[in-house]
């Protein structure tokens, strides 16, 4: 105990060098753990975004772009699918429910999703959580809109307010649907998924917004805009749909049936498998980042070694005094080990704490700017391993100045000048 107290007091007496060394190790650990936590948080966030959905169906194309665009609002779908195809599979005997999704508009960079009541009824996230309205209700009328929690909070919207949606999904769209404003009728509860960062309208509402348009192009200047006739509105196509099968076994049969559909080229993906594909893709980047982080950690530990080694000469007197009052040579060794271990432990704790503070503070920014859902997850085995490896490495490196101090004490004896 006295050795630990001596180590702490000795480190405190060299406060600046100790603090800089702790920061150096802390930064390295922050980088290493940050990469791991960001990956873990993104995995948890992605995996938790969609649950109990057996298949996602879209136009023929890659599975990953379909998953990213339809569920995470990242990128665009390659094409649309016909309403007939959707209806065909929605009424398939093996299908329990479907959620149609149509995208193409936005509001201040947030996606506008046209869907139907099934979305509010069947969409499940984080294993067993369903959607609930914090205020109001699901949109029913043509020009009614419900907001995700983040959209309402960040744009400061309240029920009853009117919003103008923009054509296209760019953050600064030049084409606003100014003549068809939508009234906010509902605000969803926070889900910590991309659901929070979108606006929801009805499928017919989307059609109404584009009434008189031709192939995604608004009427030309001077061209007469036809009067909206709700009875003539009908949905022609959607972007994708989520599907829940009646039984797990039928999922694979359904997937094959959809993928080989003769009427329209479609792609059906199983979300969990496609997410695995995403993790394998990210593995390369993760490995590269982990290697860089490990290299930074080595530099941090070497900085600690240099800091401890550099003070050895000026500490010869201190060691001689301690020897004179009866400190055993092995206790001198332990004293130095304590110092290096304490510095590494403090740096590691600082680094891990910094990661969580940064993740908490930058979560919104990461989600908004990169569209990455970030869940706040606990310490993983890998982080525990990093922490243990850092502290053990520091102890091993600390044995170098410890051995030198030991040798010095044998040569110096009580000659403490």
């Amino acid at each position: 105990m006295i050795l630990l107290r001596l180590a702490i007091k000795s480190l405190r007496s060299r406060a600046l060098a100790t603090t800089l060394t702790i920061f150096s190790i802390g930064l390295s650990v922050t980088l290493m753990v940050g990469v791991d936590r960001l990956r873990g948080a993104a995995q948890e966030g992605f995996s938790g975004t969609i649950s109990r959905t057996d298949l996602i169906v879209g136009a023929r194309g890659g599975g990953l772009p379909l998953l990213l665009s339809s569920v995470f609002h990242i990128g665009n779908a390659s094409n649309n699918i016909s309403w007939e195809s959707y209806q065909h599979f929605a009424h398939h005997p093996a299908v329990a429910w479907t959620i149609p999704i149509s995208m193409g508009d936005s509001h201040h960079g947030y996606r506008v999703i046209a869907t139907d009541d099934n979305f509010y009824k069947h969409y499940i996230y984080r294993r067993d959580h369903s959607l609930h309205f914090a205020e109001g209700h699901a949109p029913e009328g043509l020009f009614e809109v419900a907001l995700g929690a983040d959209v309402a909070t960040r744009l400061g919207y309240q029920l009853g307010q009117q919003v103008v949606l923009a054509h296209g999904i760019e953050e600064r769209s030049v084409l606003n649907h100014a003549n068809t404003p939508f009234t906010i009728v509902g605000i969803l509860d926070q889900t910590a998924t991309p659901v929070d960062r979108a606006l929801y309208i009805t499928l017919l509402g989307e059609e109404a917004m584009h009434y008189g348009w031709s192939d995604g192009t608004p009427p030309a200047i001077g061209e007469t805009v036809p009067q909206l006739d709700p009875s003539r509105l009908k949905v022609d196509q959607i972007t994708a749909f989520l599907l829940g099968a009646k039984s797990r076994v039928s999922t694979l049969y359904l997937q094959r049936e959809i993928n080989t559909d003769k009427a329209e080229p479609l792609t059906a993906i199983i979300p969990a498998y496609t997410l695995q594909e995403l993790w394998s893709l990210l593995d390369y980047a993760d490995t590269a980042l982990s290697l860089v982080s490990a290299a930074v950690l080595v530099v941090g530990l070497l900085a600690m070694l240099i800091a401890l080694y550099a003070t050895l000469n000026e500490r010869r007197r201190e060691i001689a005094i301690l020897r004179a009052v009866g400190l055993h040579v092995r206790q001198i060794f332990i004293l130095f080990l304590f110092e290096s271990t304490l510095v590494a432990a403090a740096g590691t704790l600082l680094g891990i704490a910094a990661v969580y503070v940064l993740l908490f503070a930058l979560r919104g920014t990461i989600e908004n700017h990169f569209g990455l859902p970030v869940a706040l997850v606990g310490l993983s085995k890998r982080v525990e391993l990093y922490a243990a490896a850092t502290i053990v490495s520091a102890a091993v490196l600390g044995s170098i100045p410890a051995a030198r101090a030991y040798r010095n004490s044998l040569v110096d004896g009580l000659n403490a000048q």
């Binding site: 006295i2 005094i321 020897r323 004179a324 009052v325 009866g326 055993h328 004896g413 009580l414």
Partner: protein
């Protein structure tokens, strides 16, 4: 009957390399309870001798008995324990641990060695530190770090650290070399006083071995030894050649 020896060296040869001895002593015997002054010029091997007596350095040949223990038969760890529990040490320049407070510096030997702690006369270590601090008139500074003390106050802290737990042997290595005459005499009187006080508390009398290059200090002690007369020393320049 011959008095019990606190320190007894026979045919000791020491060198950092076995083939290059730098200090040889055929015979040195210091009886227990004496205040002995050992003088020798700078570079004569005084500190090396003290390191041998303290068991920090080990000779290539000969025997060293300290407080009845044959150092050559003790393990390094046992020598460290003997030093910590039975020997108080005062350095040239006092050499206090700069990051510890006055109280922590004084208590350090007892914190490290239970046997030394067991010999304190007060009921707790803190009380013993206060008792010594009051005796040496440094009680007002117990919570301060030693770097804020004057030289005179540092001397007193060094004495307190050396005598706490009533060690059987107190070794002082040139502690007065940086002091003027008045301060030096005051320091020596105080050291003699508190060492003798320790004798009344300790069943085995405390031996004081005071080392200096200044012969004029001899009158303060019971006995004077001259290192050049009892030892053959290789001069510093030859050691480095």
């Amino acid at each position: 009957m011959q008095e019990v020896a606190a320190i007894h060296l026979e045919h000791v040869r020491f060198g950092y390399r076995a083939d290059r001895p730098i200090l040889s002593i055929d015979h040195l015997r210091i009886p227990a309870g004496r205040r002995v002054f050992l003088h020798g010029p700078s570079g004569s091997g005084k500190t090396t001798l003290l390191s041998l007596i303290s068991g920090v350095l080990v000779p290539q040949r000969g025997s060293i008995h300290v407080l009845g223990q044959d150092l050559m038969r003790l393990s390094a760890s046992s020598r460290d324990t003997l030093r910590g529990s039975q020997i108080g040490y005062i350095f040239q320049g006092f050499n206090l641990i700069p990051y510890l407070t006055v109280a922590e510096n004084i208590a350090l030997p007892c914190e490290l060695h239970r046997t030394r702690r067991a010999r304190i006369t007060s009921s707790t270590l803190s009380e013993e530190v206060v008792r010594l601090a009051l005796r040496l008139d440094i009680h007002a500074h117990l919570g301060e770090t030693v770097t804020r003390l004057s030289t005179g106050q540092q001397q007193r802290v060094a004495i307190a650290r050396a005598i706490i737990g009533s060690p059987a042997l107190v070794i002082a290595d040139e502690p007065t070399s940086s002091l003027d005459t008045d301060r030096r005499d005051a320091f020596l009187d105080l050291l003699n006083e508190v060492t003798m006080e320790g004798n009344t508390r300790n069943p085995s009398p405390t031996t004081l071995l005071f080392v200096s290059h200044d012969r004029s200090l001899a009158s303060h002690f019971d006995e004077t030894l001259s290192l050049p007369q009892i030892a053959q020393t290789v001069p510093q320049a030859e050691r480095e050649a």
